[in-house]
Structure formats: structure tokens, C-alpha cells
Amino acid sequence: MTIKIDSKDISQLLTQSSRQLDSGMMSALANARQKALDRQLVRVPAVTLSTGRWTLNLIPHSGLQWLATGLLVAILVFAAGYWQHAQEQQISEIDVAILTDELPIEIFVD
């Protein structure tokens, strides 16, 4: 004959058993529970704030970092400007070539 035990019975059994534990064991279990809860509490915000922390790391903190960031941004902007200027220069050269080439303009225009 098998005895069916549901979750309520398990909980009752555990409560009865815990009453039989000595105070040292009880406090050790209570400590372990508290530590587990603390870890869980820390982990939850860590997940939600992980993106924020990542972006926070991108913001320069020291003067030197601000200077390095400034230089990097200046180089990027200058490079973009130079690239744009070079592109425009090339377009202008081609335009003049099309407008002055021996071949009629209709050859290049649809």
C-alpha cells in the first residue's frame, strides 16, 4: 500500500522536523537562508542595471579620458570632412571631364 504525500504534507513534515532541530542548527539555517535571499536581491537589480552600467562605462570620468575622447571625436569629424571634400573633388573632376570630353555627352547620359 502506497501513501500519497502532497506538498502540504511535505511542508507539515518539514515544520515538525524543524522543531526538533537544536538552536545552533536553526540559526545556521536561518543564516544560510538570509545569505541566499541577499544574493537574490543583489542579482535582480544587477540584471536590470547591466545595460546602464555598460553605457556608464562609456562616459569619460577623468580629465585625460575627456581629452582622449575629444581628440577622437575631432579626428573622426575631420576625417569625415576630408572624405566628403575628396568625394566632392572627385565629382567635380568627373563633371568637368564629361563636359569637355571628345565624346559627346549623350554617350554617358541615358
Partner: protein, 135 residues
Amino acid sequence: MFKKLFLTGLLFLPFLAGKPVSAAPETWKSLTHGQQEALAPLAEQWDSLPEIQQHRLLKTAIRYPHLTIEEQQRFQERLIVWSKLTPEQRQAAREKYKAFEKVPEKQREQVKQMIKQEREQTIGSEKAIPGNDNR
């Protein structure tokens, strides 16, 4: 201090990047004599041209004084047709020109000769039409 410098520097970055492509529109009257001479065929429609087109035409006008007389003539003859094209057509023409530039010199010369001959034939046949005869 560096943070303040950085933020102030950000305000000046657009100037570091050089002159933007879409500069303020220039009226025909504001152009120099040299620019007006090079772009003379566009005098009437100049003020109504898009800014970017004006900017690019002005860049081409810089090279005008350095062209041969024959090239200057072609330049001005083609300006009206060129300015009437859509930006997409002009871009397609540039792509075609770049592709043609990649063709070996010998083949390019052959194409040029072929087109020259065709043009001469067309002119010849036009002259042969009785209506065009000046006798």
C-alpha cells in the same frame, strides 16, 4: 576642466569638418566675373538651381580658365543639357564615365574613332540633303 573644453569643442566641430556641401545659395549677381564667364549659359536659370548643384558647378568653373579653347567651347555647349538632368541622371553619367575610364586606352581610342566617323557621316549626309545645299 577637460569636460568643459570637450563640450566647448563640440560647438566648433562643424567648422573643423570644412565647408558643408549645401552652402548658402549664391545669386548670379554675387558670382565673380570669372565664374559668370564660365557659367554664362546658365545665367538665366542660375538663381533657381538647387544649392548643391550650384556648389558643384562653381567647383567645375574653377577649372574653366585652365581648359583649352576647344574644351571651353564644349563645356559651355553642354552646360545647359547637364543642368537639366536629374541628380540621378548625372550620377549615372558619372558612373558610366568612370566605367569608361577603366576600359584599356587602345579600346577607348577605337570607340572615340568610331564615334568620330559616325558623326562625320551624319554631317556628310545632312549636307547631301538637297534642302541643305547652298548652291
